[in-house]
């Protein structure tokens, strides 16, 4: 019998802090969102046909340059890394503003970078500059390590047929990246049927994409396409942890602030020990989620061999923290937490939907079992 291995600690510890440049990027994104992504504005838009705010997206994507962070400079991007993209996602989580950042600037971008072909470059440039929104036509629940879907087939000469459900941000897309049996295709959104679904999370709209002999441009062969999608799902899951951190942080800050001013029984509600302990525990969870999310972002940025385990750990942990923070936010706001006008519900819906997106905590714990060699019975 071989000696069981202990999963090795990476020799160089991950940089878990924020650099000055990252803090500057955070300030830019936060001030934009504070000015133009207010909860009242979001509430006004989410029940319309266009929950996304195209002007806000242009400023974020092109003005701040957030859309091209993961794209090398020679391909028209910022040449930054997952660490910077993670900071943007923290702020987007704090604001729960509907933007196609995770879908276009992370998932689609990583797929196109993984195609490793000249055919993907023009689209990558469009995407990095924020001129076009490009989203992968896969269900939001698709997880790294899970079998890739085979819903779309090539009916000959790059004409695609099939139906994909729960495609996030499809209503805002200019181009869809479609994984078919014969490879990866770019399909103009205008040539697909996009039917909005009624989503649990109104701030990340979902749609059913129906392709009926739609013409697509082939970007990669099947093997490359599958590897590119798998890599993108890993990055997406790792960076989603930062969005979840942002959600949790907002919920904690907002709840603490409220409990300092809200009085019941002739005392600030926040002076009751039962509530103080709940918030202190939540603070601990958020501080821990920050370390986990930073570790995942750094492992992706440095292409560490430890990245798959670190991402799985971050997803297994941060999903639960975001949901718990949002649930505590609703509960500790009392009746106000149940109203439509208070934004707590936007965070609860996003947190719960995020806990299903890109793999549940249970799925990621299963991946941890593999990487850490703790097999199931």
């Amino acid at each position: 019998m071989t000696t069981p291995m202990t999963p090795a600690t990476p020799s160089a510890p991950a940089d878990l802090l924020y650099s000055e440049a990252e803090e500057e990027l955070r300030t830019a994104v936060r001030s934009l969102l504070e000015a133009r992504g207010t909860p009242a504005g979001i509430l006004a838009r989410i029940e319309t046909d266009r929950p996304h705010d195209p002007a806000l997206w242009r400023t974020l994507a092109a003005g701040i340059g957030a859309a091209g962070l993961l794209v090398p400079e020679k391909l028209g991007g910022q040449g930054a890394s997952h660490r910077e993209a993670a900071v943007v996602l923290e702020e987007l989580g704090r604001a729960v503003v509907p933007t196609p950042y995770l879908t276009s600037a992370v998932l689609a971008t990583e797929i196109l970078l993984g195609c490793d072909t000249e055919d993907a470059v023009p689209l990558l440039r469009e995407l990095a500059s924020g001129r076009q929104v490009c989203v992968p036509a896969v269900p939001l629940t698709l997880a790294p390590g899970a079998p890739l879907p085979a819903a779309v087939r090539d009916s000959g000469g790059g004409t695609l047929t099939g139906t994909v459900t729960s495609v996030a941000d499809a209503v805002a897309a200019d181009v869809l990246l479609v994984l078919a049996d014969t490879g990866l295709y770019a399909v103009p959104a205008a040539s697909a049927g996009i039917t909005p679904q009624v989503p649990l999370d109104l701030t990340r709209p979902l749609a059913t994409v129906t392709l009926d002999a739609a013409a697509g441009t082939r970007l990669a062969d099947p093997a490359t396409a599958r590897a590119a999608v798998a890599g993108a799902l890993l990055s997406g899951a790792g960076l989603l942890a930062s969005e979840q951190l942002g959600i949790a942080e907002w919920c904690l800050t907002e709840t603490v602030g409220y409990l300092k001013v809200r009085h019941q029984f002739n005392r600030p509600v926040g002076s009751f020990q039962a509530l103080k302990h709940r918030l202190a525990r939540l603070w601990l969870d958020v501080a821990s989620a920050r370390a986990a999310a930073r570790a995942a972002a750094d492992a992706l940025a440095t292409q560490s061999p430890d990245a798959p385990l670190t991402v799985a750990v971050a997803q297994a942990y941060c999903s639960g923290v975001a949901v718990r923070a949002a649930e505590e936010c609703v509960q500790l706001h009392g009746g106000i937490g149940m109203t439509w006008e208070h934004p707590a519900h936007l965070y609860l819906k996003r947190a719960k939907a995020d806990s299903l997106a890109l793999g549940t905590a249970g799925h990621h714990r299963g991946l941890v079992a593999d990487f850490a060699e703790l097999p199931a019975p």
Binding site: T6, A8, P13, R267, S271, K276, H277, L279, S288, R294
Partner: protein
């Protein structure tokens, strides 16, 4: 000349090693020479084992000495003296007290213990009732009372002690801080047998113990401020250390899982994975705290690490006992023993399970630490309380 850079310190360390080669120098001689060279705790003043250098440079000295095979002062055995008595004496002691106590403390020649907690004053430490009364003619304080949870009392030469010197004052104001001679005839140390069956701690009975006024630390009635320095130092040490992945309590349970497939169940698998993930996240959180300290931006995460480790140790050891199935029903031995060190990983799962119960009580209960996080980190208001202005003698007990 004061050495304040890493290079200057290394030169000094090499000088010490050349003059006192570890291979041929008796242990205590080497430690004494190290103290006198200012390399014991480099951030302490010159003449008191230090050089007034930045505290962070101690690691440079320790690494160099360790690499040369130099003996250390076994900080685990003298932890209370090093971690609590020394910084308090440094902050509040007279020159004479500092010269008298710091050198033998650091050398480990004199072990220290801490006479703070009492049967009636644990988390509400300032409610303590041990009395110290000044005897005018002799100029000595006469101390009567009982202390509890005292590690090392049976081996200690000295104790840091807080006692009530004015019961008419509110509880925080009538306390004075003393350095107590554990060899005084009025000091009686009794082993306190714990939940594990061992006697790791002691009860200490103080009956007519005489403490000269020269062994008072800080002003009369100002003992609470002095004690806060001690308590802050008690909580500082955790979190700064680097642990490897799967270090600590998760190691034996993960090993058992890998080595003994017959024990595996699906329900235990899910709990093991949850705790493995939480242990890894705690490791990363500690690492992030260490990185913050290294660049001089200490975050409030330190307040939380003790809470996290207490909970994880309890949950992981509980899982381990369950995983071991029939074996989990057995305990190593109940014979009364007095361990010199608390060693979690060298023991059975049952011991770990029982000893970990203390992690959420010792050094500040988890409930008190949660209050500290809530009030000092989150800025939440304290609960209304009526003990602050009442004389100690009028408090309900």
């Amino acid at each position: 000349m004061t050495a304040t850079t890493a290079e200057q310190l290394l030169t000094r360390v090499r000088g010490l090693l050349a003059a006192h080669p570890p291979a041929t120098t008796p242990r205590t001689d080497f430690l004494r020479a190290r103290f006198d060279a200012g390399l014991a705790w480099v951030h302490y003043p010159e003449g008191l084992g230090g050089l007034g250098a930045p505290r962070s440079l101690q690691a440079v000295v320790d690494a160099e000495l360790e690499a040369a095979g130099a003996p250390d002062n076994d900080p685990r055995r003298i932890g209370i003296g090093l971690g609590m008595a020394a910084p308090t004496i440094l902050a509040y002691g007279t020159e004479e007290q500092k010269r008298r106590f710091l050198r033998p403390l650091w050398l480990g020649e004199e072990v220290w213990c801490q006479l703070f907690s009492e049967p009636g004053a644990g988390s509400d430490l300032a409610a303590l009732g041990t009395r110290a009364v000044l005897e005018e003619e002799s100029g000595e304080w006469v101390v009567d009372g009982q202390k509890v949870w005292t590690s090392s009392a049976h081996t200690a030469r000295w104790a840091i002690l807080i006692a009530r010197t004015d019961p008419a004052q509110p509880k925080h104001r009538g306390i004075t801080y003393f350095l107590c001679d554990m060899h005084d005839p009025g000091v009686e140390v009794r082993p306190l047998r714990q939940i594990t069956g061992e006697a790791e701690f002691n009860e200490v009975f103080l009956t007519g113990v005489r403490i000269p006024d020269a062994h008072r630390l800080g002003a009369v009635g100002e003992g609470w401020a002095v004690a806060r320095t001690t308590l802050m130092n008690e909580r500082v040490s955790i979190g700064g250390m680097r642990i490897p992945r799967e270090g600590g309590m998760i190691a034996p349970v993960a090993a058992a899982w890998r080595e003994r497939p017959a024990l595996r169940t699906h329900a235990l698998h899910q709990r093991l994975l949850e705790l493995w993930v939480e242990a890894e996240v705690a490791r990363l959180t500690g690492e992030r705290l260490r990185q913050q300290l290294a660049v001089g931006q200490p975050g409030p995460e330190g307040s939380g690490m003790k809470l996290t480790f207490a909970r994880l140790n309890q949950e992981i050891s509980a899982l381990e006992v369950e995983l071991l199935a029939e074996e989990g029903l057995s305990y190593e031995e109940w014979t009364l023993r007095r361990p010199e060190l608390v060693d979690f990983t060298g023991r059975d799962a049952g011991y770990r399970y029982l000893r970990a119960k203390g992690n959420s009580i010792e050094g500040g209960t988890s409930e008190v630490l949660l209050n500290i996080v809530a009030e000092r980190v989150l800025g939440l208001p304290s609960e209304p309380r009526d003990d602050k202005d009442l004389a100690w003698k009028d408090l309900a007990r």
